[in-house]
Amino acid sequence: MIIILNGLKEEVAENITIQACIEFVKEGDPDLIVEHNGRYVYPKDYPNRILKQNDIIEFINPNLGG
């Protein structure tokens, strides 16, 4: 199925979870912020949150400089 990941179309497995999606794109930032259809998702929900066709996902690397 197709999701929109960081503004780009990405083909991923059906019923993929956010956790699996993070592993799929090899995103290794331990402080990664995830937004799912415009809503913030807490890390504890990554393994249970299942994505659907055309869902919009943003993987956000925190900006912590000053």
Partner: protein
């Protein structure tokens, strides 16, 4: 108070003379006199915040000057807190500037927060931000977060007992972080937003960034404001909600 200096903001209905008096009686702590602190402290001094405490234990370096516009070439080698204070005093001699040249820790921050109304996070590392977060929750002081990296920046406002806290969003207290490149204008945008958040919080006007994470990607001009919800299991702020519920 010199009324002419503030005419262009006292003429705004939401501020007025009464609002200006509130700003004049306010006390704000700015943690960091780098890229973010340069901007937020300048605007807060210009707005007439009565007391600004500027905390930084670093010294001014040439590599700072692309974005830390409160400092200049003549300040190289000076402690940033004192360099910043000098610039702010030149901008507005009618307010009180308190430079503090110490590392921010759980021990050093506590005495600095007496009568402080808002904490501005203008620091450059996650460890200090967690110190600020703990202090904010302990003292019940709103905490205006900002961070920048490359062309990107983010900001939020954390209000103890009402909103998620910094640790809800960033649970890890350590982060392997190389010195990030930062383009000056993004520090300008986020620092300005932080100053505006402080003014609105002090005057209790408008909507602030509480319950939201503002983000800007300056390279492709994408701006988002993501709604945030409380993290019910957060070990840092759970107590502040319990305290608030008991006091209602």
């Amino acid at each position: 108070m010199n009324q002419i200096r503030y005419t262009r903001q006292t003429s705004i209905p939401q501020i007025g003379i009464s609002g200006q008096k509130i700003l004049a009686n306010a006390k704000v702590l700015i943690a960091g006199a780098g890229g973010l602190g340069s901007i937020s402290s300048y605007y807060l001094a210009a707005a007439g915040i009565g007391t600004l405490i500027v905390v930084d234990n670093d010294t001014v370096d040439f590599s700072n000057l692309n974005r830390q516009i409160i400092h200049s070439e003549a300040d190289i080698g000076k402690p940033k807190a004192f360099s910043a204070a000098q610039s702010l005093e030149q901008l507005n001699s009618s307010i009180r500037i308190q430079p503090v040249n110490v590392e921010i820790t759980d021990t050093t921050i506590a005495p600095l927060l007496k009568h402080v109304d808002v904490i501005v996070d203008a620091c450059d590392n996650i460890k200090t931000r967690h110190v600020l977060n703990r202090a904010s929750l302990k003292k019940g002081i709103p905490y205006v977060f900002g961070g920048v990296d490359g062309f990107n920046g983010m900001a939020s406002t954390f209000i103890p007992g009402e909103t998620p806290c910094f640790k809800c969003l960033f649970p890890n207290e350590e982060r392997r972080q190389s010195t990030p490149g930062i383009i000056g204008p993004v520090a300008g945008i986020i620092g300005s937003l932080q100053a505006m958040e402080v003014i609105k919080l002090l005057l209790n006007i408008g909507k602030n960034l509480s319950h939201h994470l503002f983000r800007i990607s300056g390279l492709d001009m994408r701006i988002t404001n993501t709604p945030l919800e409380r993290h019910l299991d957060c070990p840092a702020c759970r107590g502040s909600f319990i305290k608030k519920e008991m006091s209602v």
